[in-house]
Subunit: 680 residues, 2 copies
Amino acid sequence: MSSFAPNKADDVAIATIRTLAVDAVAKANSGHPGAPLGMAPVAHVLFSRFINANPKNSKWFNRDRFVLSNGHACALQYVLLHLLGYQLSIDDLKAFRQLGSKTPGHPEAGIEVTTGPLGQGFANGVGLAIAQAHLGAVYNKDGFDLINNFTYVFTGDGCLMEGVASEAASLAGHLQLGNLIVVYDDNHISIDGDTAVAFTENVEQRFLAYGWQVLHVDNGDSDLASIYSAIAEARKEKGKPTIIRLRTTIGFGSREEGTHGVHGSPLKADDIVSLKTKFGFAPDQSFQVPQAAYDYYAEFGKRGAALETEWNSLLASYGQKYPNEHAELTRRISGELPAGWEKALPIYKPTDAAVASRKLSEIALTKLAPVIPDLLGGSADLTGSNLTKVKGSVDFQPPSTGLGTYAGTYIRYGVREHAMGAIANGLAAYGGIIPYVATFLNFVSYASGAVRLSALSNHQVIWVATHDSIGLGEDGPTHQPVETAIALRATPNVAFWRPADGNETSAAYLVALKSNKTPSILSLSRQNLPNLEGSTVEKAARGGYVLHEEDNEDLTIVSSGSEVSIAVEAANKLKAEGIKTRVVSLPCWLTFDQQDEEYRLSVLRSGAPILSLEALSTAGWQKYSHEQYGLPAWGASGPYLKVYEKFGITGSNIAKVGKQVVDFYKGKSVVSPLVKAIHL
Amino acid sequence: MSSFAPNKADDVAIATIRTLAVDAVAKANSGHPGAPLGMAPVAHVLFSRFINANPKNSKWFNRDRFVLSNGHACALQYVLLHLLGYQLSIDDLKAFRQLGSKTPGHPEAGIEVTTGPLGQGFANGVGLAIAQAHLGAVYNKDGFDLINNFTYVFTGDGCLMEGVASEAASLAGHLQLGNLIVVYDDNHISIDGDTAVAFTENVEQRFLAYGWQVLHVDNGDSDLASIYSAIAEARKEKGKPTIIRLRTTIGFGSREEGTHGVHGSPLKADDIVSLKTKFGFAPDQSFQVPQAAYDYYAEFGKRGAALETEWNSLLASYGQKYPNEHAELTRRISGELPAGWEKALPIYKPTDAAVASRKLSEIALTKLAPVIPDLLGGSADLTGSNLTKVKGSVDFQPPSTGLGTYAGTYIRYGVREHAMGAIANGLAAYGGIIPYVATFLNFVSYASGAVRLSALSNHQVIWVATHDSIGLGEDGPTHQPVETAIALRATPNVAFWRPADGNETSAAYLVALKSNKTPSILSLSRQNLPNLEGSTVEKAARGGYVLHEEDNEDLTIVSSGSEVSIAVEAANKLKAEGIKTRVVSLPCWLTFDQQDEEYRLSVLRSGAPILSLEALSTAGWQKYSHEQYGLPAWGASGPYLKVYEKFGITGSNIAKVGKQVVDFYKGKSVVSPLVKAIHL
């Protein structure tokens, strides 16, 4: 389509979107009518004229991606999904924000990415756009423009104030992502009222500074032709992402339009009557959809289905001409890993040299990258410390920079942890890509907003989180995690792995790569760790196992990561004094908790006290142990062995502590901490 | 000073800074020499010509504040502190990055704010500048320009890539902070190499978009006159913050200057020889300070001491003319609260109406604000939800906006949680101000980098964190915290309060306001909570107490916040069935842990099982209970009572769970979970 002639049906469709959104919010007596009323025109123009997607197959791979970064406006998204013919009925709209409905308070399912926490969707959009650029560069061939979709993002003022969006915008400009089109709902209102109270920067100039194309539409409320032209122009710019500043009136049509009164509360009953009258709808009826609106959007479905059919033929011809690429691409789209990939994982013997687990991670990645092309790595400007760049890999960069290509598999995220996490969610959401990202463990917390959504949305993102304790030494307490591990372990569906040696590092990658609905955090040491007697990939892959067994033990020490070898040292010292000590390694709580009860109780068994050991906060370890040893508060700056000594995390002190524990429990009946009345 | 004539002594001083920094890093065999070498000239010009401070009294209130946001360059800061005559000896420099030294790997003490985690210092600087603007507006009078210091911030590329700095920069521009001067070390290098790999935005244009004055110096390596002029010009602009882009050569003087090889590792021995020779120092000696350098900086000390003396006289005359303001200001500077302020705290009876604890917080703030003018509040664009704006209070705004004044006590932070947290750290660090900030509890995690530094640096910052559970209802899992509480409870020196009713909310404010070395997070409900029989401010102020006592109990339920009344309901149901149930309220773990052992063991006593109840992750509750009830994973979107019911957090289900627990422990000897072999 090269021009645009708005017609009466457009007005009917837009009025339908507006009244349905108002009705959904009113019925729920909860929600945000303002943005749906203001953004209905652009949503209509975008979906009716530009977006390539098939409502009958929402997973068609080359569909255009749409992200509602201002997720509180989701009534808009739900209404559109309904009108366009997706599996979302009028009854689903009526169940807006109700328990168990398809239409929760912020978008969780049936959409590309979960949004609501501000700024995340914007950055997810950058990830979706990177994914297209990358897969297109890898698989497209002359005459086979297989992967060429656009990513469209709607955003409000709130998202643009968030740092995560600023970080992502700067990177998107650097990466020259011409396939990314952001529509900024410039309605001058946020929850605190007029944006004049806090947000007076020149947004257009800022995005120009980032290297974006910047367009604007002065009347987003009704100037459909200008909206159309702006989007069309955005699509033409191939070397830059585009932001369209769209001036709208929040709550358009309401008596309170243009005020924050319409932002986050249902319209009043008489206002709804007035609004429906204004838009030519029966004022006393709810959830009205003129047949003309359904008919109009049915065209969208037809076009989308035809596009997918056409694309499927193209893919089939591609398969004839490029059978290898076709096989790989379709495997990647399916989410299956290549057969036999696990064989690439390195296996270690106790006689192998001590190696830092960040280095073990590098060795694993070096072996895995050639067999799993789905891996798309990167670091927040700590590549040489995280050891995440596989030797010989090419940077993901715009070819014009001369620094790499879009087919490159290594992203230079810059010092932008939060955007990195959110971009990785977008990469995972696109499909065909398994993103891994990296920073120091302590700075994963800069990205906790993104990690949380990763877990909630089932994105397979792997974090290579190095320098994971006081073992980093001189950088000191500002960089030494204390609370980070328990924060991540307490987040549902986050697999936090803290491997103790080579085999456990391989196990962490094994499970992380198999877990395609779960983000995994690999917590890795800066310092060297010995390869342990008793560790195997298979055992560690259960999340916890007996590393060193003793019959009729006096004590079990349960530990993780860099402290497991210290636990072994302590156990040996205790043995010399006649105290039989088992050692359990517990690299991943989530995975261990998923094992059957019999197994878990065999690992952390009743009969003798269990002491936990970790160079972090002890919080949470009470679940797996009777006694806990760890950091009482912050770490310290100094050479790492001295810091360990300062906190008593040495073989000899832990042996002493172990003896105290044994004495304390002597003569008492000791039951496993896993034996409980309540299991949630 | 209005002009600048560089002389030989300047060169000697700069060379001394450079060689000392190189020596400190070399001796530690760890650290970052690159930025100190590059920034030595600007540091020298700034400290020798502009900064007003007295090395003999580093706490002089009207001193200029200096923040090294790129904290990894701290060798530079330590060297300057030494040369300027602060209490930091040459031996302290030699102990750089060693255990227990005054010179840890990232600045922790003896400086304005702890830095290292990138972007934080930049935002702290915005807070320091707001503090000056505010206190100046409140206390300065004609002829008494008492509070008029500048805040200088050094920053590198890393900080400027971080979202927290972007957020803070946008707000600083909006607030027209003319007292803030940022020097951007534009050295084109970060850890991953040339900034061309990830950071190609136009920084000058971005800051212009934020409303800053933007200056630049092309040769920061040696053009002292231009450096001088730029800083002088920055000081003249009263209506905008200034950023000076200073082009420097990282590692200037090293053979590897201009490469990332000099960023984060000591220089090689032969490189140090060559560098010292180049700068006219003995190549085989370390830690050399020419007397000329000491003499030169001694002038700084003299000037600073004189300025303080002059200021003290001014303050004394002010006291004669404005005794009330003088008394209030000096009290605020001392950090003491006004006598009798506690009496303002509201007290409740069980017959008082049920009120949401966010509303109870508003009532407390409304009572406290008139008696504690030190309170400077704000919200990240959730004012109407957080209920943090005291009625009648004035916005902190540039007068030219017509929206408030700098004397105003309410900051509109915009949707910028991370910057808000870091700015609050700066406000607290300035002195005389107790900042409180607000967002939903779930989004405190967006700011966890700042909260962590608040705790590590002992900043008294109060977070009003509302909508603290599934009790927020319809907004759903994207907004419902699960892991947030344990993440904060596991952070050393964070007081996480989850009050159950009015008296507990008052207790939370009581302890938070008294704890001037501790940040406090007040976790508050959206939904109404009954005032409980048995709660008092005094008891709750101990962090945990017996709300409902029973002799020879069969069960104790320990709970917090909105679930305490549900525990009481369950206890009543159990009593009707003959099961004696105590109820313990545990609003603040940190405070409870600080009580004596006897008290703690009287609250969570041996003899009967203890069941914890909280509508969050159960992680960590094992420390205080034998059995745990909470959320198994994510929350859900729906009306809040239905969501509570879905997860079984109702009086009747908890009574059922309680019975299970009682049955399970029947006949077993039950020891308090606080009875332990190991106490860290």
